[in-house]
């Protein structure tokens, strides 16, 4: 047991040296990969992959979109474009409401800055003809 005690008093861990090797290896690998993804060749390769994917999937996407549009029309349901246009109109209405809110804030501020001289109170029922 005594042999298993390290000089600093900590118990001997047979995996420690393995862990250190692992960490050194991974650190080197991590640095190499950071350099690799920063090359023009990597940028070109990923760009080409993405481009290919988009080109290949485009006809399928268009077919599905057309089929969905026809199906929704047959079912008298609003299409995606209809819903999106409605959402845009809602945002437009919100903008107008916000404009009104801004105007009200300005009016409120103007009123609080310049208090209106109130007329003296008259007794109820008197002076009204």
């Amino acid at each position: 047991m005594a042999e298993q005690q390290a000089t600093n008093g900590k118990p001997f861990d047979p995996m420690e040296s393995w862990r250190q090797m692992r960490d050194t290896y991974l650190e080197t690998w991590a640095k190499a990969m950071i350099d690799a993804v920063n090359t023009d060749a990597y940028a070109r390769a990923t760009g080409a992959m993405l481009d290919t994917y988009l080109s290949v999937s485009s006809p399928f996407r268009e077919t599905i979109e057309k089929a969905m549009l026809q199906a929704l029309q047959q079912l008298s349901m609003p299409s995606r474009a209809d819903v999106l246009s409605l959402a845009e109109r809602f945002t437009n209405v919100e903008m107008r409401l916000d404009d009104m809110d801004a105007k009200l804030d300005r009016i409120e501020r103007a009123l609080t800055k310049a208090p209106i001289a109130r007329p003296a109170r008259r007794p109820v029922g008197k002076g009204v003809k």
């Binding site: 991974l26 690998w29 991590a30 990969m33 950071i34 993804v37 920063n38 090359t39 023009d40 940028a43 070109r44 990923t46 760009g47 993405l50 481009d51 988009l54 999937s57 485009s58 996407r61 995606r80 819903v83 999106l84 959402a87 845009e88 945002t91 919100e94 903008m95 916000d98 809110d101 801004a102 804030d105 501020r109």
Partner: protein, 354 residues
């Protein structure tokens, strides 16, 4: 017999550890818990006020508006109780407001920086001033939020912005050797084709792009670190909170993404003074607010070279550049947040918030 088994059987410990690991990786924990009140909303954008914890006489007079990036959730500013920037700032007497851009839907695919700066941010500032009754305010912009904050400060220099804090601000796009610059180069990346297919830029694609900047760290070492610290519940909770935020990806409005790639990464229009938002030139030399720029030395998303040049362009008389040994997210959400970044920000902002 049981004792012999527990010593001899190495699989029992491994099984428990694997179960704890799987649970930690797959469980989302509650983040974003500091109480707040909604004071304004427009489309998906919301302006919140964090409920103050100090009485009014102990608070700083100027409100602080937090403007986060468009492509991530702002919950990173309020990660978990005891380790939350929002909570910390409230405890230090700030009247804190958060502009949450929300999650753009397909109907928002045409939103551009023009809209975010001149409609949403400008209107939110108007509401902030009306709500607080204070004509001046401070603003903190982080990452893409710093582009928005800088553009606002340049376009509306007389709108009451007294203090501007830029965190890891990507403003100087003249450095073509950065990884993102190479990836988004027109030879390699067809931005129109991507946006024709998706409308908005999918969050998963941007997340994968950010992770691929440090692939071994993000896809392997991150999980190995978790494995090594499974016996430490506090560390596991911290890892889970960060993982919950990282995996909460959101898309970026198509129009804004196109501008980010074409106007900024490819053509560096901002610091050249040739960037126009709704016909108005974004001239950063018009920025006159007190400026604190915070840069993370090990930032792989916004390398320090992208953030430094702004200091030479602005007209601010009171300006400071502060470097922190940390990463893009770590400077706020890591251990350097409460130890270095937040106290420095407080020391800088407090005397300027009277």
């Amino acid at each position: 017999m049981a004792d012999v088994c527990s010593v001899v059987d190495p699989f029992a410990g491994m099984e428990n550890k694997l179960m704890s690991f799987t649970k930690a990786v797959t469980t989302k924990i509650k983040i974003d818990q500091t109480p707040r009140q909604l004071i304004w909303a427009l489309n998906k954008t919301k302006l919140y006020r964090y409920c103050p914890v100090l009485p009014e006489e102990k608070r700083h007079r100027l409100p602080l508006l937090l403007v986060f990036a468009l492509m991530s959730r702002p919950s990173i500013l309020d990660l978990r109780p005891g380790h939350s920037y929002a909570e910390w700032m409230l405890n230090h007497g700030y009247d804190l407001y958060l502009l949450d851009w929300g999650i753009p839907g397909p109907e928002d695919k045409n939103l551009k920086f023009d809209d975010y700066v001149l409609d949403y941010l400008t209107r939110a500032v108007r509401k902030l001033k009306a709500f607080t009754g204070v004509e001046e305010f401070s603003m903190l912009g982080w990452c893409i939020g710093a582009i928005l904050a800088s553009a606002y400060a340049a376009l509306r220099p007389d709108d009451g912005l007294r203090n501007l804090i830029l965190l890891t601000a990507p403003l100087d796009f003249s450095h073509k050797e950065t990884t993102f610059a190479k990836w988004t180069d027109e030879k390699n990346f067809n931005v129109d084709k991507v946006l024709d297919a998706f409308g908005n830029m999918p969050g998963e694609m941007m997340d994968a792009g950010a992770r691929m900047l440090k692939p071994v760290d993000n896809y392997l070492l991150n999980y190995m670190r978790l494995w090594d610290m499974l016996d430490n519940p506090e560390a596991v909770q911290s890892w889970q909170a960060m993982n919950t935020w990282v995996t909460d990806t959101i898309p970026l409005a198509g129009g804004a993404f196109r501008q980010l790639v074409v106007d900024l990464f490819r053509n560096d229009l901002l610091l050249k003074g040739e960037w126009f938002l709704r016909g108005e030139r974004v001239d950063v030399s018009r920025i006159k607010a007190n400026l604190l720029t915070i840069i993370a030395e090990s930032d792989h998303i916004t390398p320090p070279c992208m953030s430094k040049a702004i200091m030479d362009h602005v007209s601010s008389k009171d300006k400071e550049l502060f470097l922190i040994r940390s990463g893009h997210i770590g400077l706020m959400a890591g251990s350097s947040g409460p130890k270095v970044t937040w106290p420095h920000m407080d020391n800088w902002l407090a005397p300027r918030s009277k």
